[in-house]
């Protein structure tokens, strides 16, 4: 009986255990890994990509995937900085509104035409990137001096950047929505069996549209924070964020087939990816290897997931 409990913990928290294990190894062998500055660095990197990944988790659990988030980060950052000259509220409101619009269009096309979400959102990635490039004329955008907008990415609270707390708050809210509300339950149902959910009277299309809006808005928020932190934004800033977010979700153990997983797992997954990449940077390995390692992590995680779930049946 007791060994069963341990077995369950080992199975359910495998990623966390591996992460802790890696953390100990990196602390012992990678120079300056275990220092306050680096640990805060890891938290900072986790926060921005983490917001994207937590939002994306909704559409993945609902059984689709949103690859347009990378461009949404870019266009949101570009819009935020160019409106920072007007007022902080416009700099926040405009990017969020645009993100909602993109998510709505994604969701409507995918649900109403029953279209493949990978291809549609990949095409949307290209469209939004093109629009961001047109908007800035292909150039970088700089923010207004001494604007309050700068505070979002550059102020800190008891030694930690404010946006780390924003990430924590967003993750907690999304986790609560996912696991303790009707909307969250419907998201799981939509992801595990669309036809049964429709028969049960769940408005699956609407639920899936909400998930695309949530992932787009989270990407938009990440874009605002990133632009406020760097205070320059390029229409290509968010390139590749979609892959990192998908990698984090998959590593955490959320199934890409939908219906399984949660926000907590995504948070663990994003810590995992960021920690590994961080150690690689500290070890001065070529940037190219980051791509290779990410690819291997994605495949191994999915393969292990398939294997263990097959044993369960």
């Amino acid at each position: 009986m007791k060994s069963n409990i341990f077995k369950n913990i080992a199975k359910n928290q495998a990623v966390l255990i591996v992460l802790i294990f890696l953390f100990i190894i990196f602390s012992a062998f990678v120079p300056s890994f275990f220092s306050a500055r680096n640990l805060i660095n890891i938290l900072k990197q986790t926060s921005i990509i983490g917001i994207v990944a937590c939002g994306l988790t909704f559409s993945v659990i609902a059984g689709s995937v949103d690859l347009s988030v990378g461009s949404i980060v870019s266009i949101s950052g570009v819009l935020a900085l160019s409106f920072s000259y007007r007022s902080i509220w416009l700099a926040i409101f405009i990017p969020i509104a645009v993100s909602i619009l993109i998510g709505l269009v994604n969701g409507l096309i995918i649900t109403k035409f029953n279209a493949n979400s990978v291809i549609i959102t990949l095409a949307m990635l290209a469209v939004v990137r093109g629009l961001a490039l047109i908007y800035t004329g292909g150039k970088m955008v700089e923010g207004a001096d001494n604007s309050k907008f700068m505070l979002i990415g550059r102020s800190s609270l008891s030694g930690l950047n404010v946006y780390i707390f924003i990430f924590i708050i967003i993750a907690v809210i999304l986790g609560i929505i996912m696991n303790f509300t009707a909307l969250g339950r419907f998201v799981y149902h939509a992801g595990s069996n669309i036809d049964a959910s429709k028969i049960a009277g769940i408005k699956v299309d609407n639920i899936r549209i909400y998930t695309f809006i949530i992932s787009a808005v989270c990407a938009g928020i990440a874009g605002i924070i990133l632009s406020s932190r760097l205070y320059t934004a390029s229409p290509l800033t968010g390139n590749g964020y979609e892959f990192d977010a998908v990698a984090a979700i998959v590593v955490g153990g959320t199934s890409l087939l939908g219906g399984k997983g949660n926000i907590y797992r995504t948070v663990i997954g994003i810590f995992f990816i960021v920690t590994v990449i961080n150690a690689m940077i500290l070890l001065n390995l070529p940037v190219a290897f980051q791509y290779v390692v990410k690819a291997v992590i994605i495949v191994v995680a999915v393969w292990l997931d398939i294997r263990t779930s097959r044993v369960n049946i």
């Binding site: 096309i109 495949v299 999915v302």
Partner: protein
């Protein structure tokens, strides 16, 4: 009797709609711009679509079998990198090496999808990142330049005023179009795309058939990479970033369904020509590259939506 005739005409028009759009576009553009309907411009369009067009043949196979491949652009860049890096061992080794590496990548895709049962999206997405990483590593994130100009003979040589690469492009379409429509392996690909469970019960090997499709696609990515080097004699990780989406667009635009089981290489040929004419028209009309990117993305969204809507409507008929 007359009704049957009319239905036949309607079916014919419906099946050839891309061809008709293509002709209409041709007429419109040649009226709009005198330079459009010249031998040079037509050859130019074919020359431009060669790389994506060759990959689109293989993409047709994978899409008909019910999957798609996002790694083709990186795979092409890897072939180009390999051929430039292996230059000092002579062109034969370099060319065979590049084809081998690309084919191997396709093979690994196929094995992961069929034997490890990881879905095509995850496998090919991971493969795309993986190959891109190696290309970045080998090129040191720069554009690498080949020394010998032996490949230019192929890249810019012509036979009866037709570039070699365009001839190769058409020959590949004929060969693999026939393989798809006339051979057992081709028929098996349709069967799996239509209903993989039924195909399995009829004794068709899903592992062999799907892996064949991915191996072929990998090989064709290698061929595209070689043609790329024969024209530019350089390699870089930025090459091929749009190739995957363009190839998928050409296949779906031609009328092959993303849900698998139908379509053919001739349709893809029409799709790639239409895409080529549209790109050419956008350049002639002075549309900026950024806006071209937006328009191409919108075309993909439009054709996938129409295709999915058609499939959905048929399902509930």
């Amino acid at each position: 009797m007359e009704r049957v005739e009319r239905k036949k005409v309607f079916d014919f028009l419906n099946n050839q709609k891309i061809f008709l759009i293509l002709i209409a576009l041709f007429v419109f553009l040649s009226l709009a711009n005198r330079l459009f309907l010249t031998y040079e411009n037509i050859m130019n369009i074919l020359f431009q679509v060669t790389l994506t067009g060759i990959i689109a043949i293989g993409m047709t196979y994978t899409i008909i079998s019910g999957d798609f491949d996002l790694s083709v652009g990186s795979n092409m860049a890897l072939a180009a990198t390999t051929v430039v890096l292996l230059e000092r061992f002579g062109p034969v080794v370099a060319i065979l090496g590049a084809l081998a590496v690309s084919t191997l990548a396709g093979f690994v895709n196929g094995i992961f999808i069929t034997i490890l049962k990881i879905n095509a999206f995850v496998t090919t997405l991971a493969m795309m990142i993986f190959l891109k990483g190696w290309v970045l590593f080998f090129t040191k994130s720069e554009t690498i330049q080949g020394q010998s100009d032996v490949y230019f003979k192929f890249g810019y040589g012509t036979l009866f005023k037709v570039p070699y690469s365009v001839i190769l492009f058409i020959v590949l379409y004929v060969i693999f179009g026939l393989v798809l429509s006339k051979t057992i392996i081709g028929r098996n690909i349709y069967a799996i795309g239509n209903n993989s469970k039924a195909a399995h019960f009829f004794g068709i090997s899903i592992v062999k058939t799907k892996t064949f499709a991915f191996v072929l696609l990998g090989f064709l990515c290698g061929v595209s990479g070689l043609i790329l080097v024969s024209r530019l004699n350089t390699a870089s990780a930025t090459y091929g970033s749009d190739t995957g989406l363009d190839a998928i667009t050409a296949v779906i635009l031609g009328g092959t369904s993303l849900s698998g089981g139908e379509g053919n290489a001739f349709k893809t040929f029409q799709g790639i020509l239409l895409l080529g004419v549209l790109s050419n028209a956008m350049i002639v009309l002075n549309i900026t590259p950024y806006l071209q990117q937006v328009i191409k993305g919108l075309i993909l969204i439009l054709v996938v939506s129409l295709d999915s809507y058609y499939v959905k409507a048929n399902k509930f008929k």
